[in-house]
Symmetry: C2
Amino acid sequence: MKKSEFSFIGDIAKMFNALPHHGFEPIGDDCTVIDIGDEALVLTTDMLVEDVHFLRAASSAEEVGRKSILVNISDVAAMGAKPVATLLSLSLPESAQEEWVEGFMRGYHEVSEREGVALVGGDTTASRDKITINVVAIGRAPKANIKRRSAARIGDIICVTGELGISSKGLVDIMFGDLDTTAARCHRNAQARTTEGAWLGTQEDVHAMMDVSDGIASDIKHIMEQSKVGAEIDTALIPTDYDLRFALSGGEDYELLLTVASDGFESLKREFENATGCQLTAIGRITDGGELRWVENDATIEFNFEGFKHF
Amino acid sequence: MKKSEFSFIGDIAKMFNALPHHGFEPIGDDCTVIDIGDEALVLTTDMLVEDVHFLRAASSAEEVGRKSILVNISDVAAMGAKPVATLLSLSLPESAQEEWVEGFMRGYHEVSEREGVALVGGDTTASRDKITINVVAIGRAPKANIKRRSAARIGDIICVTGELGISSKGLVDIMFGDLDTTAARCHRNAQARTTEGAWLGTQEDVHAMMDVSDGIASDIKHIMEQSKVGAEIDTALIPTDYDLRFALSGGEDYELLLTVASDGFESLKREFENATGCQLTAIGRITDGGELRWVENDATIEFNFEGFKHF
């Protein structure tokens, strides 16, 4: 799920840059940010479309309800903010008027309740035959806590929370009919790193942060681009029990990818793991030069969608 | 276009009321409101669905682009706030990838530029065959300026900005192939009352306010319900050049419906019209008792969708 992308519109998008910003930061992070005194609000939005992001036959209404809010509060957590509220728009065909929408709202409520997030507005409308869902999440944090993709510094440790690849392995399990594997259950009941994101927001040694939405192999490039730096990632360090392709290219893990000042890393890792019970794993380092280099125990390797090529 | 309606979900919606509100006001106005120090932010969202809200064959992409942002900034204006930013989500089938989306963005930009509103985020995604558009508008105002549907008082003058019924008359003209009437042009190039809304927000004598989205015959009921009052409207006073049914039940006029302290009304009307060049017309009065009473030059009449029944 790409954020805030109007790049395909080309010249039209540029026209918007000339408009007054009213204190909002330019597009480029998981959320847009606006200062409100000592605090900042962050806002993000995500659209889920039937037959593109979910199949009604394959996902229960509750799962779609959980997922639709989760992707958004994960983006809020990735900014170092605490999610406080959502807006929900639904367009529903006749065939999803009763049972489906009640299941959807149960799933949506389940996550809202667990995360203490209010539903403060929205819109409901008819559609011809497909369901479309749009969620906006709003987060709040002390201004100094907000973490941006653009804040990585050369020498920073690149690290990730939790384990990678479970969700995409689970999706493959489900596609092959193995509905009850650990990975399949994780895929169906993903959690966003909200406690962890808010905790990391309070740490000065945390520089850049984002959530893992398309797999770290493509997500790290957003940090590199926004921070104008390079990166070196050691595949031997990736925290995963599965094929590296799931860990690096699989989506929907909702883990956090961040860069930390190298001399602060060890104590931050210890305090983080004590405070949250979630592991934090160093997987590489921010470099100069702008390139992404993959290594395996210090030897350069090449990564593509078929896997790794060793030299 | 109904706002914030999850009433059809019944018991599920009530479950959300138990969640922490984090300073957001409960659902029930054109926008949700959150205090940020001396100021407040207001947020609203609206979803437009192809073949429900627009036909690709009947509306140009530019028109859809203008309308999708206009309905939202009209809601911001109705709170007495100044629109500052929007978030835009688009799901687009193959058939709308190039020319359509460029036209849409030109229309969206035209209104953004005229109103000085930033585009601060969004999402773009594929869809199978229909276009869905979701827009969030964010407004800002001194806290004291925010106008709510719940603030009408018994004895208030009910009034409207501009003229009613033009947009729905224009829609009928277009349906009958009369594309170039004044009303048809107004329908295609509607304007939101942003200057007027922000001006009215500064006035203590303005009590309740909302925008006219479904026609005043149904919109006034939201003010009555939220303010727990009745209303009496004199059809002889309705500012319209068209059939009263357009003026009372037609949508998309984007005018403002408001209630004003009766002893302040005459001077407020004069100052408003001087400041904005827009007319403000008294059409009735807030009453006790909770009923909506229609009169024509002081005689009670009965209004339904077929028109008026005189006693």
